[in-house]
Assembly symmetry: C2
Homo-oligomer: 419 residues x 2
């Protein structure tokens, strides 16, 4: 380490995830240990992911981080936990090409620069912290040659943001709550890869809201402290649902999967309402989405679509296959057309091929949509233009990936500052 | 009974009531037996009541009923239960003045005419069925000289509409769920009269809604069948709250009363959300009312106001005294001003003297209202004119009353038809 001018970098990409059996409530606030297991679907990073570059250099004077180009403080306990836990597991690193040699004990004194970028609007309430902390931990682990398996890394990411642990794997993931006081067994495991059930199609409705939302951190703390129903949920209801959901995923049983997903989302929001003061994450638009989906499901006698809502008004809708997803997109555009000043290409983003399948090539096609059969006797009196800001079409996706070269790095290879 | 032209009439008035510990869920659908006790406050019949005239005559050919001037069918099981149970308990009636003598056994063959009128809009979702069935049973019992005490009558009214049993008493009322399979011990008892705690002031916000609501009958059936949380609520949570609420009422402990009222309303709505498919009675306006009240309560360190919502979006707000009620009305008018085409006299109804206390004599005074201190750093960006249709100012009130003469009767004394 005689030459102080070298910079070593790693760039990785990590997906976000949506819980289908919800995490709500911690038994340990600092270690972020949950009061029940949870299960999630990892979302395709092509449409929703975080990219993070971590760099180390003897010339760096302090740990620094930039999120979406803006410097943010790393002083928070959650960042510090992740940095400390990864540094503690660092190993020797040799880069013969660049002539860099870092010894295990050097890591304590070396500072890192971190740049992170979300390929989706952070303001949309799409759980960017899950992908963010997963990517931070994953990329730091690669940089520092940490040899722990993915599950152990997930237990570190968990200390940044609980749901981040589930973003360390693709496909279908369970966060096991664990029993140890030190949290060592509270980690994610993969239930099935994304290829196990690759028919599923996911459409996210980003719902407009003028309400400021309660953060999930303070919200779940208040629920633990005040909701009598939460404790019954975590002890009596969730354990059974976890087993049922594992079975539904294993057997690709969409009706069971959908029923469990919807009822668990609703129960999570019920617990929020049972909190003092009550927490409302869903709004009238969210309620209308649920009502339309329930009506469609009932009219067919079997679930066509599953819905789930996290700590905000956005709906995540899961269809069993492309054919049903096309019908779903038609319904969504019929009920929630864009406001006058929005163009179609920014109103439906992600996998736009679904638009074509739905026969929608221009705004005129949206306006020409006819009411779905299940509402033909009772057509909604008022279409609410602009109640949904936009839709993201996606699917279950893979876990973290490391980029082989530095061309996609977010930090400059010579200055270690954001590009 | 030789002369067939006589008509004997009774007119009575019965209040509506608002539950502060909620009734949600039946263990017997036909007898209307609940899964938990509930407690309510009877509302002043001056502002919210049902008036019912029942008449009997040998000239009547069938049982008939008119509600708000329109004939309705009595064939439903609930009307039939009330009529049957009252007839079964009928006694001899003598009216010397009119020369009428009815023997106990005659009642089986005599037909009745019933006319009922609500002094508040039925479409407003203000539980008109509670006052309605209470008044039906009470007036029929008077007409037929039924000698059962009020509690026994409440058990009959219960078979018309569960919450009707609580409208047989003024003040503060408990509906004891009972244990008997035949429902004989499932009845209302008075916890305290309306004079026991006569400082309380109640303001009802009638919230505009474009959603069609789930009826409470089908809603609670679906909750019983599908909500895992409801059973925990009824068995573990409500019994404790009933004891605490009885104590709060007994000692006029407003902070406890308010806390229990709010948390129980929220838990009832939580259980609705935990139902499959989920039931939403509150809308964004309801949520905003709660948020404003919670913010006010927190800013003062002790509850200023209690809120509770039944099976609809309307808020029932309870203030400990007139002074706080004045502050409450100012806040409500600040947050929810009327739409442009509404005049003040139809926007605030009931006890209008509260308006004067609040210094509001004209629309200009509403527009001149300044933000409450608790929001001065964070004034709502958008006032939503018309989100509340109107406010009703009222208070706890008395139980059923019988009108001494027929001047207020709704049926014509000679024809037995609606006036």
């Amino acid at each position: 380490m005689a030459n102080k001018n070298w910079i070593l970098m790693v760039t990785a990409q990590t997906p976000t995830n949506i819980a289908v059996i919800k995490y709500w409530g911690k038994r340990d606030e600092t270690l972020i240990l949950p009061i029940n297991d949870s299960i999630s679907v990892t979302l395709d990073p092509e449409h929703l992911c975080t990219t993070t570059t971590v760099a180390v250099s003897p010339s760096f004077e302090s740990d620094k981080m930039w999120l979406n180009g803006k410097e943010i403080s790393l002083s928070g306990g959650r960042y510090q936990s992740c940095l400390r836990e990864i540094r503690r597991r660092a190993n020797d690193v040799e880069d013969e090409e660049k002539g860099i040699s870092i010894k295990k004990q050097d890591w304590d004194n070396l500072k890192v620069h971190i740049a992170s970028f979300n390929n989706f609007p952070t303001a949309a309430g799409l759980a960017s912290s899950a992908a963010g902390f997963a990517c931070l931990v994953y990329s730091l682990a690669k940089l520092m040659n940490v040899k722990e398996e993915q599950g152990k890394l997930s237990a570190i990411a968990r200390q940044g943001s609980g749901s981040a642990c589930r973003s360390l794997f693709g496909g279908f993931v369970k966060w096991i709550m664990g029993k140890e006081a030190n949290g060592s067994d509270s980690m994610a495991v993969q239930l099935a890869t994304e290829t196990h059930w690759d028919d599923l199609v996911i459409i996210i409705a980003v719902v407009s809201s003028r309400q400021k939302e309660t953060s999930s951190t303070s919200g779940m703390r208040e629920s633990v402290e005040t909701s009598p129903l939460l404790h019954y949920r975590s002890k009596e209801v969730v354990p059974k649902r976890i087993l049922q959901m594992e079975e539904a995923i294993k057997t690709r049983d969409f009706p069971s999967f959908a029923k469990l997903t919807c009822t668990d989302s609703n129960q999570f929001h019920a617990v929020c309402l049972d909190t003092s003061p009550p927490i409302f994450y869903m709004n009238d638009t969210s309620h209308r989405i649920i009502s339309y989906m329930e009506k469609w499901n009932r009219s067919q006698g079997t679930p066509q679509v599953a819905y789930t809502f996290d700590a905000g008004p956005n709906a995540v809708l899961i269809a069993p296959n492309r054919k049903v997803a096309t019908l779903l997109l038609q319904r969504l555009l019929f009920y929630f057309p864009p406001s006058a000043d929005t163009d179609l290409s920014s109103f439906v983003i992600g996998d736009k091929s679904l638009l074509k399948d739905a026969g929608i090539n221009a705004m005129d096609d949206v306006e020409a949509l006819t009411p779905p059969p299940e509402v033909q006797d009772n057509i909604p009196s008022q279409k609410s233009k602009g109640d949904v800001s936009y839709f993201i079409c996606t699917r279950p996706g893979k876990g973290p990936v490391l980029f082989a070269d530095d061309s996609q790095a977010l930090l400059h290879p010579e200055t270690g500052l954001p590009k």
